[in-house]
């Protein structure tokens, strides 16, 4: 087996992810400044675009403080788990079809495994470890409570997330992400692209809400509710270890948007491209571009929501997860199954 190709892809994914996160942090700060009628970072580099780079360098040069009572090995391990899991989730997401590069046809995804969705769910569950261990190992009350709340929130919303994906699986009949994208390249009634957002609107809503909760974004950012828990699970973190938690949060945001695009918004498929007589190479270029634009759109949605809505109270959060989202996701699943079984 050729190991050079996956190695290049792994390095590319890491590099692109880090660049994306740096741009994302900058644009989020600028957008929030715009929403709140401020200017935002505008000094470092042209228009302040290098602000996030400066932040990373600053964090890198800061003292790494580990409290005396903390459990040092686990305290070190927790941010590594968080960032490792966040980055690895991207491995199974297809960003395009096949492309000819340097005389070789290259699949535009890292690993085309047939359990793609299970892999994503497994890794999102692993992400809980990073936060829980960070909260526990710091040996601080704020961290412990933040970590506990956060893990309870993450596992609660993972249920509705997993259940809303089942609706998509019923339609696509495969766990392979590429297969799900292929299934969405058909048309409903000959004109509407068969994206799962049209076929499974309820699952789309529950999935997006769960994705907000899973990425700890507002209105679900209770793990770090400043007024009550200071910094939450990363109260006792400083330097780049703190930076890694922030980084993994933004990587999670990018990955969650990419998953939403892949599962519900047609992935890299371009509607009506097959009628335009384009060469295979152009089509795959447009596909990658489409994927990027769709993902950027979803990310923008996440950012705007963050600066629009207030935060939930913890009991409201749990009520929403267990008493609203779970029944809705289950009902959607049963209705979808019934319709498919009755009319196919």
């Amino acid at each position: 087996m050729n190991l050079i190709e996956p190695l290049v892809k792994v390095v590319l994914i890491l590099a692109v992810m880090l660049t994306l996160v740096i741009l994302l942090v900058y644009s989020e700060r600028r957008i929030s400044a715009f929403i709140q009628n401020r200017i935002g970072p505008n000094r470092v580099g042209p228009k302040g675009i290098l602000q996030a780079v400066a932040d990373v360098v600053k964090l890198l040069m800061k003292e790494d403080i580990v409290p005396k009572n903390a459990n040092k090995p686990i305290h070190d391990l927790a941010p590594m788990i968080s960032i490792g899991v966040a980055m690895s989730t991207f491995a199974v997401i297809p960003i395009g079809g096949t492309m000819v590069l340097l005389g070789q046809s290259v699949r535009l995804m890292l690993a085309d495994v047939n359990i793609g969705i299970l892999y994503i769910l497994a890794l999102t569950s692993m992400g809980v470890y990073g936060i829980t261990l960070a909260g526990w190992s710091s040996n601080s009350k704020y961290s412990l409570l933040g970590g506990l709340r956060s893990s309870a929130q993450l596992i609660s919303y993972e249920l509705s997330m997993g259940l809303s994906i089942v609706g998509v699986l019923l339609i696509a009949g495969t766990l392979q992400l590429d297969g799900i994208v292929q299934a969405q390249s058909a048309y409903i009634g000959g004109w509407l692209p068969a994206w799962n957002v049209f076929l499974q609107p309820v699952a789309f809503v529950t999935f997006v809400v769960s994705a907000f909760a899973e990425t700890n974004r507002l209105p679900f950012d209770l793990p770090e509710a400043e007024p009550e828990l200071v910094g939450g699970y990363h109260t006792e973190y400083s330097g780049l270890k703190f930076g890694l938690f922030m980084l993994s949060e933004y990587v999670n945001l990018v990955v969650a948007s990419a998953i939403i695009v892949t599962l519900f918004l047609g992935g890299y498929s371009v509607p009506f491209a097959e009628y335009m007589n384009l060469s295979a190479q152009t089509v795959s270029l447009i596909q990658v571009l489409t994927f990027c634009v769709k993902t950027a759109g979803v990310i923008l949605f996440f950012v705007v929501i963050r600066w629009t809505l207030p935060r939930f109270r913890y009991d409201q959060l749990m009520d929403l997860g267990w008493k609203v989202m779970l029944p809705i996701a289950l009902a959607n699943l049963v209705v979808t199954g019934f319709i498919l079984a009755a009319f196919s």
Binding site: K62, M80, S140, K141, L148
Partner: protein, 118 residues
């Protein structure tokens, strides 16, 4: 078959290595001037009272237990959803009964108040 997992392990390894390098780089580049106050646990400027390794609310435990039950249900649903086309109406009815049994449990824990946070 299993060959397609090699890139995933490479990705996991590379991402973990990235985290490790960053943490070590920070330890190496950053200053190191510890003092007793700096290394004490943060408690809003007060002297820390006891440790954090104490008992916490049973609610969190309840959520974890309920999560395991329902997550196993979800895991059962996945292969069913993938094979749904071959199973047809019979497959749907079977799974409906399964979900119904779980729903009874769901309403039981709801009535018992396990889902209440006060």
């Amino acid at each position: 078959m299993l060959e397609s997992y090699i890139p995933i392990f490479m990705m996991l390894g590379a991402a973990a290595l990235f985290g490790l390098v960053m943490v070590k780089l920070n330890e190496w580049l950053g200053p190191r001037r510890p003092s007793a106050e700096k290394l004490s646990t943060y408690e809003s400027g007060m002297e820390p009272v006891r440790t954090a390794r104490e008992r916490f609310s049973i609610k969190f435990y309840m959520v974890a237990v309920l999560f395991i039950i329902f997550d196993i249900e979800v895991v059962f649903l996945y292969p069913w959803a993938v094979a749904f086309n071959e199973l047809g109406m019979m497959g749907f009815v079977t799974m409906f009964v399964f979900i119904l049994i779980l729903l009874v449990g769901y309403f039981y824990v709801w009535r018992k108040g396990a889902l209440e946070w006060d």
